[in-house]
């Protein structure tokens, strides 16, 4: 029961606050740009686009993923640690460093789910207002997948399954990847006791992944980079890595970082902070 009250406090403190309104204008801007691109697509050909096209355009654009959605996610959660003064009063009453760390992981998990599903919901709502939903791909996507940010030769080389499956896989990998970046940020903050350093570490990894997209070829070792796994829509001619491989990739990193974080939390000193909401 204590743990659930602690988790409720964490969610109240870290999610129920003004900064979580920031994604709204940014997602609306992304949706607006994608809407214009889909409309242009419809105007140029004989084929009517559908709502999935807007989602493919929005979530298949690396600038949207790395420089807007990824960066904003790190900012929203950058102060998950160090524990603020009020959080220290809570920790003393919780009475367990293990439960405290599990609470932090649960908070990060729920925040990531809210962020990823919420972002998809906002984009989906805008898509609903402008275009019809269909069970399958639009003819525009089938004929020229690269125009809606699907990989070239997409339908010729693989059977991607219905659009809902593609978007679900995209969100699954994006969620896992963002969670991992968030966890890395938390661990760096634990090591340094300064949230700003954690944020910088998270941003550097995110930007490093973004730079990894520009590797020509790409070389075989590029599959070890986060950029090869962060999204299902890979921006390369076609995704050759199985989704389960990417899930395992993120799971391994998450397991490692969660273990390091747990080890650090056992010896963590909670000093006074200047953080107040």
């Amino acid at each position: 029961m204590r743990f659930l009250h602690f988790l409720a406090f964490q969610l109240r403190w870290y999610i129920w606050r003004k900064r979580w309104l920031l994604p709204l204008p940014i997602l609306l801007f992304i949706a607006y740009r994608s809407y214009n691109a889909v409309r242009a697509l419809g105007a140029s050909g004989v084929t009517p686009p559908n709502a999935w096209d807007l989602l493919f355009l929005a979530l298949g654009n690396p600038y949207n993923i790395y420089l807007a959605i990824g960066l904003l996610y790190l900012y929203l959660l950058c102060d998950l640690l160090p524990e603020p003064d009020v959080g220290q009063l809570v920790l003393m009453r919780l009475g367990s460093r293990r439960d405290w760390w599990l609470g932090k992981l649960a908070t990060l998990t729920i925040a990531t789910l809210v962020y990823v599903i919420g972002s998809a919901a906002v984009l989906g709502m805008i898509a609903s207002l402008a275009f019809p939903w269909q069970a399958g791909y639009s003819t525009a996507a089938m004929n020229m997948p690269e125009q809606v940010n699907l990989p070239m030769n997409y339908f010729r080389l693989i059977d991607p399954g219905p659009p809902l499956l593609v978007i679900s896989q995209e969100l699954l990998l994006l969620g896992l990847g963002l969670f991992c970046f968030g966890l890395l940020m938390v661990v760096f903050t634990q090591l340094t006791q300064r949230y700003f350093i954690g944020l910088v570490a998270g941003v550097l990894i995110l930007f490093g992944s973004f730079a990894g997209l520009s590797l020509s070829g790409p070389p075989a070792w590029a599959v070890t980079l986060p950029s090869a796994h962060l999204t299902y829509l890979t921006f390369t001619p076609v995704r050759t890595l199985p989704v389960i491989g990417s899930v395992l990739y993120w799971s391994a990193w998450i397991g490692l970082l969660a273990g390091i974080g747990y080890g650090l939390s056992r010896r963590q000193d909670h000093l006074s902070t200047t953080h107040h909401e």
Partner: protein
């Protein structure tokens, strides 16, 4: 330190704490029995708050052991549950009222009822029905709220860092009287302050923390206007 016939509430042995190359505490031995008020003074940055944080389990010593109410902190329990603390600035959710803040903390500990929370607020001179958010509280009101959260679970040991910070003279007298009352009820209270006069007013024994070492000071009282408070109860 002299041993006491009373049951020991706080026992520390050989506490060493370093931050980087700086040694903040360098072999601190300290004992405190039940039913006393002890004070620690020392200049800002002398390590008073770090020592108090070690007693609460928030900071772990590099070397040494800490026992609170007979339990080893770090091995038997991670945070002593019989302790109430007010360290540094009291932190609260500024958008919530004082009562809601305390109810939230009380829910997590699960040991007291909402009625007891309200009672604690009244004891420190706050109105539980005051719905204004903590962000609109004065420094003194925040300090009182911090005290209320420290005492509300009726702890055996109270750890108070600069407890009368931001309070006017009357407010200080009220708090002093209340602390003496608690002591007379058998509670142990450990106070730190950079103001030596403040702790001399109240405390049964006074210590100074300098260069990482804790030494006892002779207690020479100069503020006789507080004699009435000291001897009350």
């Amino acid at each position: 330190m002299n041993s006491s016939n009373h049951r020991m509430i706080v026992e520390t042995s050989g506490i060493v704490k370093r931050f980087g190359k700086q040694t903040v505490l360098n072999g601190v031995d300290f004992e405190m029995p039940a039913g006393v008020i002890y004070g620690i003074s020392g200049p800002n940055g002398s390590g008073k708050s770090v020592f108090l944080r070690i007693l609460t389990g928030l900071v772990l010593p590099d070397v040494g052991t800490v026992k609170i109410s007979g339990e080893n902190i770090g091995s038997e329990v991670e945070f002593p549950q019989s302790t109430g603390a007010l360290i540094d600035r009291p932190g609260f959710i500024h958008a919530m009222s004082g009562l809601r803040n305390l109810l939230l903390l009380a829910k997590i500990s699960g040991r007291i009822s909402p009625g007891e929370v309200e009672e604690a607020m009244q004891v420190v001179g706050l109105d539980p029905n005051d719905h204004k958010p903590v962000r609109m509280y004065s420094t003194g009101m925040r300090q009182r709220l911090g005290l209320a959260q420290a005492i509300m679970e009726d702890p055996e040991l109270l750890i108070l860092d600069e407890p009368t910070n931001g309070l006017d003279f009357e407010g200080q007298r009220e708090i002093y009287s209340y602390l003496v009352e608690l002591r007379n009820d058998g509670k142990s209270i450990l106070i730190t302050s950079h103001n030596r006069d403040e702790i001399k007013i109240l405390c049964d024994r006074v210590f100074t923390l300098t260069e990482g070492k804790l030494t006892e000071e002779p207690l020479v009282r100069e503020f006789d206007e507080f004699e009435e408070i000291r001897s009350s109860g």
